[in-house]
Chain length 397, copies 2
């Protein structure tokens, strides 16, 4: 095998961001913080810390150490992190980096965090913490309780809305990274019929797909789910099995592959040998539902309207419901981000938002058909970042 492709030899976007990207994010956040009366944001999860710092490392997979980033109401963010991360953080635009020697389960950064917060916001400051839907606190709950005891005058407020409104509108530099991984993986999906054949197991198929994505320049295939079954599949979140695929099987692969910390999230369907009329009709229905979603996803439209446009097509095609609870979602530094295309989500689309359109329906008992494309909202409407799925289900001979 020749060497895997190098960024330098391809059309890959430049890695990282100019500092101005972080200036913009910080400035926008600080304006929203001022409106909410917050003296600082306290951030603990990978995407939140990375969003304001550029700190990119897989080291988050170790649960041992918490990492903290404090965004004061003025100036750059302040990092309160384990010493092992100092050199990596020092390469970002962050200048004020405070470290403790970790692991230290008796005081895992808590006293350093408390002292830093006290210095930045005073004893009675208002600190924003993401506490709402789709968030969590990535530090031990016991340590959080100690922090609050040590800072009795600090008022914690939910800051989810600030993070959400910032992150759901992407910069052109972010869009470029997502567009790149979407296009790259689209090519893999298009060429997949030539790489797969009957008799391969699901495990082999998943492996072949991952290798092809890596060869073409994906950094990681962090998320790959799917499955195959005779006449259709019923479960889209399980890992692959050792079962060999055979004529009549319908296969779905749904991937979140990554370039420079940014995800694509879309799927493709294939039939081995042949597809039943029921499968072809279901494929056509979700294809048409996607078309309706593309037409509906204009600036000013709500996510619930985008949902309704897609669901209407599937209802008319005899959809028996689905268990996903939404027909697409935001996308970016995480596989799924706010908002959701579902009834009740009245988020208005704005230029710069990146969404998945993910119509799915049960077309006969136990058999689901799910399509997914990734789009960016522009002033004139939705632009595809993925290359559109084939209009008819591809047959793998």
């Amino acid at each position: 095998m020749p060497d895997a492709g190098n960024d330098k030899q391809s059309s890959a976007p430049r890695r990282g961001f100019p500092d101005q990207e972080f200036v913009n994010r910080t400035t926008r956040a600080q304006a929203l913080m001022e409106a909410q009366g917050l003296d600082a944001l306290l951030l603990t999860t990978e995407p939140e810390v990375r969003y304001f710092s550029g700190f990119l490392t897989q080291f988050w997979q170790s649960p041992t150490r918490p990492w903290f980033l404090i965004l004061p109401k003025q100036g750059k963010p302040v990092a309160v992190i384990p010493a092992i991360g100092k050199e990596c953080m020092a390469r970002t635009w962050v200048e004020d980096i405070r470290t403790w020697s970790s692991p230290a389960p008796d005081d895992e950064g808590v006293s350093l965090l408390a002292a830093t917060l006290l210095e930045l916001v005073g004893p009675n400051g208002a600190v924003g913490l993401p506490e709402g839907p789709e968030t969590h606190l990535r530090m031990p709950l016991g340590d959080y309780r100690i922090l609050l005891e040590w800072l009795p005058g600090i008022a914690i407020q939910d800051a989810s809305a600030i993070l959400r409104s910032l992150r759901q509108v992407k910069s052109e530099a972010e869009i470029e990274k997502i567009a790149y991984i979407c296009d790259l993986v689209s090519g893999v999906f298009e060429d997949l019929p030539g790489l797969l054949h009957q008799g391969m197991s699901e495990i082999e198929i998943f492996r072949r797909f991952k290798i092809e994505c890596l060869k073409r320049g994906a950094d990681d295939v962090a998320y790959l789910v799917g499955g195959a079954g005779p006449g259709g599949y019923g479960d889209i979140i399980s890992p692959p099995s050792n079962r060999p695929v055979a004529a009549g099987d319908i296969l779905i692969l749904d991937t979140g592959s990554i370039f420079d910390g940014y995800f694509c999230d879309f799927d493709r369907n294939y039939a081995f040998g042949h597809a039943s009329d029921a499968v072809k009709r279901a494929y056509a229905a979700v294809y048409e539902a996607t078309e309706a979603g593309l037409a509906a996803a204009k600036p000013g439209a709500s996510c619930s309207e985008v949902f309704a446009a897609m669901q209407d097509v599937m209802d008319r095609a005899g959809a028996m419901g689905n268990d996903v609870g939404r027909l697409g979602h935001g996308l970016g530094m995480q596989l799924t981000e706010w908002p959701s295309n579902r009834p009740g989500d009245e988020t208005r689309l704005e230029p710069g938002m990146i969404l998945t359109l993910e119509p799915g329906m049960t077309f006969e008992p136990g058999h689901v058909m799910v399509h997914e494309e990734n789009i960016v909202i522009r002033p004139d409407g939705a632009h595809l970042l993925t290359r559109r799925a084939a209009a008819e289900i591809p047959i793998i001979r």
Copy 2:
């Protein structure tokens, strides 16, 4: 390229576990719960839920939906999960599966969870929640607060110690999975000098390594960090760069690759063209430190003693410290698990524990040398799961 290896054609362990594995885990947990006076455990993170259920999916990467598993003081665990996971959970040994349609940010499973807890433990029950070091609560903090308001009589207690004591001793079936991925990746590392050459960028090297692991049967290379630099490297957690490696560079790759939900975690070092005497001495020192760790890691020894055995060798070799804060850690369903080989960790080694031995030292300003092997503790001492690193640093011509 021929098809990637299939589990069926190799020596891969059987995937999943017999139900008895979960019976054993549950029974042991319930004995510890009784000793602590707990009526149930409430679990929210991927490894905790998987440990008692066998629920394996990459779907956790989406932050949208919380997942709950309740382990009552008697009987099987009860799953309280989004409907999208019902079919996948139904394949496990769990029988009582309660679902809600998600996303539903106005009530993201909170009322169903509250009702289920109330039913299982009563209005004044004692519920164990992991709140200690290396844990977090994977649900929105705001929802957790609502849950507590709705269940005012429930007493929450820290259950970290229960989870820790169970998970740190592995079953033979768990050991088999970890041994398999350790051996597989050892082979990749051994063959790496034939796959790399000067002029490749770090990004290309990482990509080549990942593809080789996948081809040989790894499910995922979920964690790969490292780097190369002239005469040594200084940062072991950053992503790779576009810089081409050149004669005199020292390269480290540190991987957490996965088979069936279980990790290896070890590294290897290489020199391009030649290695300085300082590098060779540092390599020899950490190699000898690992030998000392292997000799010290016997049942009954403490993690701090294992640390001291390794640190002593490096101190005598002129180590200038390191920023890692420990010289190895537990390993299993996560890249790093409790305990840590560090001063103050008095955890006593027991047969069935799996640990990394990870001596690292700064050998000259800005240059670190880190070795890592994976071991299982047996009645007669440490057994290597990784194939031992070369006694001298391999040279890539």
